[in-house]
Amino acid sequence: METEFIYLDEFYKKKIKIITWIVFSVFLLIDAAALLLYILYPAYWGVELFGAILFTVLNVIYVLLNGLFYADRFCYKITDEYVHVRRSIATEKDAVYRLESVKRISVRKYKIFKRESYFIKFYTQCGSFRLSFLSKETAQQSLVRFRGLYDESIFAE
């Protein structure tokens, strides 16, 4: 049976974008402070200016683009044979993990914007991967094939 990719639902997409913009703006304040210092004391600035530019570039790539693209493009599908996770910023990354290679699963529950959100970490024979910002129903549905590998009581609470 062909399984469709599961994307994050609209609620989380919006919230992740909000969080991304907030974090990006906070880091931008550091840039603003650096710029102010540069205007006030231009003689003291040399190599530090390159550092500030580099910091801004990293802020844009790792905070803004990563967050925005994660919300829109992150998706996964779980079939009877494998787990397929797709995430992309500039580079599109498709990771396929054999179902049997999953050895342990840790499920964590947080309240984000007054809604129960589930974060699942899969430990495989080759490393680990995460599925984040899942609703209760999606998380339960995703873990149907992994009974016994995680603490099921977390969904009962």
């Binding site: 044979e81 500039a90 580079t91 990354k93 990771a95 049997e100 080759c126």
Partner: protein, 453 residues
Amino acid sequence: MTKVFSLSKFRVILYAVSVFCISAALAFWGLILSIGRIWKISPYEIVGIFTVSFGVTALYLLLYTLFAPRGQVCVSGEGVEIRKGKKVFRCVYAEIFGVRFGIGLLHRLLKTVKIMMETREKMVTFYLSPVDARNFLSMLPSFSPNPKKEDCVCISSGKEKYFAFLTDFIHLFLLGGIFFLTVFPTVIVFLGSVSRAGYFAMTYGIILGAMYLLSVFRRIFRGVCFSDHQVKMDERGIRVRYGAAVRNEYFLPYENIACFEICQSAIEKLLGYSRIKVVTDQAVDGVSDAECFPFLLSERKVKEIAYKLQPGLEYSKGPTNAGFRAVVPYLQYILIPAIIVFCLSFILNFALLAIEIDFLIFTFFLYKNKGISLRSEYMDLSCGVLYQRRVILRYERVLQVVGKANPVAKGMGRTLLEVSVGKLSPAYFAGYIKKEDFSKIIEMIPKKVDKEN
């Protein structure tokens, strides 16, 4: 039939020697810290170190004789049970993968054999007398001689193993030479004269020479370790024996093999020699460091081994490259440093542009040694930069597949393939492959990893 072997009583001497050495080293370290010098140590201080070491060893021997548990190894129809006091370790025969005999000089004197048994879970070490060790090994079904001798393929490395010295030499001096030729003009410009740059050339030559000497020593050491190396391949698995002073024996059932690699450098390819690396389940779990074929082998022997490890292997049809256009995505690895060097050449000196040749050579190797062919039962992929590693990997052994496509590769319908077979195994990068091939690999991943059959 059940047979019980008592652990060698002489093992206590081996333990005592270890305790003596460790306590002497610690006492020596403590002495240096307290007196604050290392080159001038008086005879009294040396006597002091030995007194402390002897005292600790005597105390250890006393405690060992009073409290040490009696140990035994029980071999029954079901498996092996190793009992050391309250500690009991059991494993069935199917889980025993390798048995190594450690017979050093001290072991010979004490008539004791150190046995290292590699199981699916961990490596277990115990001591037996030489007769018991031989009997123990003959009782393990996997290590008993194969009744059908006609099915057995015997392999040993001939004189071709000495070509490894030539490979190291060419690798170091040819590639080192190319790098030197591209860097030397810049050094001359910076230092202002050829005679001054000569010191750089001399230092560079000395470093290359030292590196070559190190690689020669490494080859000789391996040669000594793996002396008298013999491999037999029958219908059940691979039996390996090596070592004159320290005897080692492995048995590797075929079902424990995750994949195998045929490794060769450009010069070895020219001469028709290569090395086979077998990746086992135990190796990827970190239990074993067993090596079956440590030397270079001729193409005929490699073919023989490869056909045995993967029946129906299409040896002559190797992995195919993704076409010349696929070289474009590889440029991402060198583009940024190449641009930096290009810009610096305008600021510093134009001789720096010669370094761009190194980037081009690196990209060429990166592209040339990559490729993949998908067969019905296995995938045949090649990776590596200086050494080409052709990997024969059955689909059911693949645990993780990752495909990465940068914008250029995405536009060309290619994706960078990375395949893993275990936690500690190397990830195989087969280069940029077609998107359709990537989808095909995902489809070929069957449901079960059938390790038992």
